[in-house]
Symmetry: C2
Subunit: 353 residues, 2 copies
């Protein structure tokens, strides 16, 4: 090391590699583009010399040649919510392993995604866009993307059919997007069966943000499952996925609305709020007096203070499916819409029993 | 909308804007580069026409001209840990507001960051790099970055001096980097005073990952503060910042090591593990029998089951300081190292009293 800051040291250029390898500048470019024609031995020699000189091509320059930015845009409402942070974490690891970098975009606090933000995202020319929020519709997004086909995560109310063909969005049948369907029916059916088995009849649904299509589908699925068993109508408690609204909503339910035998929460974090309200403030016992079930199975759900029975979404399978969709779409940009299904199952812990 | 997928529609090019505005292709480029000379009225006319045609320049192309990628690389060990996810969330929002996008990189499970990953990061040519992990040293990073000066978050043992000049790293005095110092002394002094005020003498430190310089400094600070008050030597319990190790370490402490009057945890998440071990398994009362203090003040710390007394790091101030450092460095790439200080303070809740 010298006294000179290393940050300002000379970087090897493509020209330096070309001179050392006695090839043209264009051949160096082609060597770094797997799709460009080049004799294998020539490519190997150039890459070897590039390695010796610590040369790596600038992706900005490469992107102009290959039309690949190696960036995957990920649009999330809240990075800091436990479920989303666990998904972004797993996804970043998986994308890195496949040579992509994760470009994170947050929708605003009010969940709006305005044109400025979309224009801005387009400037980075992502290879793919994964959308974890329901307020950015495919139609709106496709106006702002040139070639990245977005992937949506959706929650059908009924059991999704395998290979049902096109990605569709209510009112937007013609916009191309790929899709991950979360089959919440299976895990929720197990949850309702367990509650029914313990004699619960009056069941409350602690809802998520009204804008969320996922939580809306969860409510509809729950209503359909309860109707099949002849259970009385679902009691709906407004919520927004947060601990604090889960806590407050549960107080209202028991103080003003006559309570319930069981609380089914739209996500685990609001189930924690319900549990704390029941135990710490209402002095009710869980599971003896009231049963509580969550949705997601975030890492915190096994913590002893909560030890939550919950419907688990298979995060690993979901991330693998997302990466698979990105790669398929890059190989066949004009393929029809692709759908993959991710299953759910009930994880039984201490809040029902 | 037509039946044709919108994703394949024709995108406006710089040439189309140039023709419509009756200017050269180069003038269109200059119009989108705030640093390029261009008459204000000419720039305004070009930008207006570009807006009408929905033209935005490709950042890959722009980056070649301006040498700005508008990308900020963020290197984190675990996106899914609550503190880091809350910081990445706030940082992404703040960077978006300033026209940057967050490019997320994860160090590996074993906390190593190998040359492949750094080479890969260099390819994206970030304007700045923020490092939240201690295993990527400035010296190593600077070998892989051409012009982005990294920003490190550090935790001095003693109170940091304002404006002490250079960024420094043990054994690497010559590598240029900017720095955020977290002044943990202030908040930890308040914590130790509170524990002493309640008569605690035997204090245990539930440590974080051994590789973390931050948690090492936290331990040293705690030892210095306790020595000043004449308290007996600190009992150190191995940990790794996780709930599970916090839980198991606390069981060992009380079953094998004679227990303690108070547990000071290296972060909030492991403090939750300590609390659950004390209450659920050891059947001890908190705060009556044992006091517990955490570090960070993550959103979960106010949850009723934990209601944790903790040393709060001012996340908002920390994110503002990071954005300020990035902007300063972009204005004056060759400026000497800059340091900002972020304060801490004790938040008193239910686990000491």
């Amino acid at each position: 090391m010298t006294g000179k800051p290393e940050g300002t040291q000379q970087r090897a250029t493509a020209e330096m590699v070309a001179r050392a390898a006695k090839v043209s500048r264009a051949a160096v470019s082609r060597a770094f583009n797997p799709e460009a024609p080049l004799k294998p031995e020539k490519r190997a020699r150039i890459l070897k010399i590039a390695g010796e000189l610590s040369y790596t091509p600038d992706r900005a320059a490469r992107a102009l040649v290959t039309r690949r930015s190696h960036l995957v845009g990920v649009i999330v409402p809240d990075v800091c919510s436990p479920w989303e942070s666990q998904e972004v974490d797993a996804l970043t690891t998986a994308l890195q392993a496949e040579g992509f970098a994760t470009l994170l975009f947050k929708t605003r606090v009010d969940s709006s995604m305005d044109e400025t933000l979309l224009t801005y995202m387009r400037g980075f020319n992502p290879d793919s866009v994964i959308v974890f929020t329901e307020n950015v519709r495919p139609h709106m997004l496709s106006r702002f993307l040139d070639r990245a086909v977005p992937i949506y995560v959706t929650y059908p109310i009924e059991r999704p059919k395998e290979n049902d063909g096109n990605g569709r969005w209510p009112g937007e049948p013609d916009t191309l997007f790929d899709r991950i369907d979360v089959d919440q029916w299976e895990g929720m059916e197990q949850a309702v069966a367990l509650l029914a088995g313990y004699g619960c009849r009056r069941i409350a649904y602690l809802s998520g943000k009204p804008v969320s299509l996922g939580q809306h589908a969860r409510r509809k699925t729950l209503e359909a499952l309860m109707a099949r068993r002849g259970l009385p109508a679902l009691v709906v408690v407004p919520g927004d996925f947060s601990y604090d609204r889960g806590y407050a909503g549960t107080l209202d339910l028991f103080r003003l609305e006559g309570g319930a035998d069981a609380v089914f929460a739209a996500n685990d974090e609001s189930a924690f709020g319900a549990l704390d309200a029941l135990r710490c403030e209402l002095k009710l016992r869980v599971p003896e007096d009231v049963k509580v079930i969550g949705f997601d199975d975030i890492a915190q759900s096994h913590w002893r203070s909560y030890n939550l029975t919950t419907v688990k979404v298979d995060l690993e399978a979901r991330v693998r499916a997302l990466v698979r969709l990105i790669q398929r779409r890059l190989k066949t940009p004009d393929a029809p819409a692709i759908t993959e299904t991710v299953r759910t199952r009930l994880v039984v812990r201490g809040t029902v029993g």
